[in-house]
């Protein structure tokens, strides 16, 4: 019995770490005959089982239907799993896929694995979160990582009347895109002398339950908080949930980088004031198309290139941007992601 108990403790520890993710890759499982000859593109995201990754999956599904590729989306089952992501990249080398597209949990730690993949003849790219200085051929981004942070902060500053305490919530401290979002938020808030940023920077590991807890703690420490800027998708809805629990709905203003579907109920009730985001499905679809073209002909993305149904790309060096959107109470019903 004693030994059984020990195992149950160990299993509980293991399961509690994986328990949050309920979904898994629904991409094509093997390279069956139907997929023969199609470029095999593997997207490796930061974590599976969150709304954002579900939306990425839609882009992969659309790419498989329309682009003549065999694409799939995989990722670690828990948030901020740096090691898990490296293992996944290394495993793609063994699978001899054609291309790996990474959204890096940690910008530097994926480099050795990307080096190995490149040496093995696999083309590597990044999308959603970059690994600057790696062997990636280009980075497909939903936004200019710093500018979107500035935009979120500017709108939040306006909503809180240019004064008061503001908290910032990110997903992980290591993801490159999130670091740049936070940098943008800080830069913009510095321009408003009557706004003070409340430290520390909160990190919710890209999970809503943790976002709720972090926001509650912050509200307890700073009852006079005026606003919250969230830079990962669960931050704004998590903060909203915390505000409801603390009885402060509407009193603290919230802006974030979140999916319309995640913030819609809170937008309607006026708990979250707005969100700025690109469509993750479009982002992934565009990345799949650009990677396919690069694999086939070596073509690099071009500034002003038109992606059907998405719009015109803007290309700066190795960074490719797709058009984004500002989502508010008034227009949220128009978005379906």
């Amino acid at each position: 019995m004693k030994s059984l108990l020990k195992v149950l403790v160990a299993v509980a520890a293991g399961v509690s770490l994986t328990g949050c993710a309920q979904h898994q890759s629904t991409g094509p499982v093997s390279s069956g005959s139907a997929d023969a000859g199609k470029p095999h593109i593997v997207f490796i995201f930061k974590v599976m089982g969150i709304s954002y990754s579900d939306s990425l999956q839609q882009g992969v599904d659309r790419a498989n239907k329309e682009l003549g590729v065999n694409a799939e989306l995989i990722g670690p089952s828990t948030g901020n799993d740096i090691q898990g992501q490296i293992n996944l990249i290394e495993q793609q080398i063994a699978r001899k896929v054609d291309a790996v597209v990474i959204s890096a949990n940690d910008a530097d730690s994926v480099k050795p694995a990307m080096d190995k993949a490149t040496a093995a003849g696999i083309k590597v790219y990044t999308w959603d979160s970059d690994s600057p200085g790696s062997k990636r051929l280009f980075y497909v981004a939903g936004c200019d990582d710093v500018q979107i942070g500035r935009d979120v902060a500017a709108r939040l500053a306006e909503d809180i009347g240019e004064k008061g305490k503001v908290g910032i919530m990110t997903g992980t401290l290591t993801a490159n895109n999130l670091r740049l979002h936070v940098q943008g938020v800080r830069e913009e808030l510095k321009k408003h002398p009557q706004i003070t940023v409340v430290e520390p920077l909160l990190a919710c590991n890209d999970q809503k339950d943790q976002a709720v807890n972090k926001a509650i703690s912050l509200l307890q420490a700073h009852p006079d908080l005026a606003g919250m800027a969230g830079v990962c998708s669960p931050a704004a809805p998590g903060t909203a949930e915390a505000l409801i629990q603390a009885g402060k709905a509407g009193k603290v203003k919230v802006w974030g980088i979140s999916l319309p579907s995640e913030v819609k109920p809170y937008l309607k009730k006026g708990i979250v004031q707005g969100a700025i985001l690109w469509n993750p499905a479009d982002l992934t679809y565009a990345a799949a198309m650009l990677v396919r073209d690069n694999l086939k002909t070596g073509a690099m993305p071009k500034d002003g290139q038109e992606i059907p149904g998405i719009g015109k790309l803007s290309v700066k060096g190795e960074q490719v941007l797709i058009p984004g959107a500002v989502i508010t109470r008034e227009n949220v019903d128009r978005f379906d992601f």
Binding site: I82, A94, T172
Partner: protein
Amino acid sequence: MRLVREIAKYRLGAVAVLIAVTIWFARTPHFFEAETLFGLTRQYAEIGIVAVGMTLVIATGGIDISVGGTAGMVSMLLGFLAVGHGWNIWAALGAAMICALGIGAVNGFAIARLGMEPVLVTLATMSLTRGIAYVLTQGTSLSLYSYDSFRAISSTDVALPGVSVPTPAIILLVTVAVAYVLLRQTVFGRQILALGQSEAAAKLAGIPVTRAKFQTYLLLSLLAGLAGALISSRSATAFADAGRNYEFEAITAVVLGGTSLSGGEGSLIGTLIGVATMAALRNGLALTGQSDLVRTQMLAVALIAAVVIDNARKKLIRGGSNT
């Protein structure tokens, strides 16, 4: 012959599972390629090294769930000292390993000397070590990409006659060999097994129970630290989360390998087979494009099954005869 007898006696389960997993995935493309298998050893050497030390601790009837935290602490400490404070990377590694020994000493002292519950003690040091790792840089990771000599530990191969083997695999095999000799051929090894069988009897027989227990925890923390260093080397990054879930992975490998959690026995060959089984499972699932979550769930089921079988075997032995 001894090896064969050992496998026949205890480890049939693990071998059977390994064979089953292998057959299951046999038709998956690339499963049997040397490149695939060796690629895996780089990942699994890290877990294997921890599992070796865990086998000894479990043989004493104990357990240590602070190993993942210790790995994370070593990773972050060596990065903190090398990148943050300009230390020589090897000096930083040495200092981090000494801290790992410190954690082992805390575990060993509280469990062996003070007689506290291993699960509780190591639960505390698990949080302590992760806490230290996070506090050093507030969670930010540090790049070790420019330390070529340090990165070489995990990325190089050792050329043996006819085949080149990844260095981490060599480190694992040496660890297993040393631990095997330690457990089977030395007084220390016999002490471990004796006190795992019955601590009271071992004490009466004049075995230095406290010292032997203390040393096994020390050794395991050292190996956990080594795993943390290998993870940092392979990822070229010092990060607080290194070794996440290693307590689960290592204990699973040991139990799959047929070592009983109630102590008194320990098979390092079994543990190695357990690690190989987990590697084959991960490899097969990855090649077929399954998510990592599926693997964790399958491991959890395998772990519980192994314990149920272990308990049944114990009852059979006790009820059947006195062998």
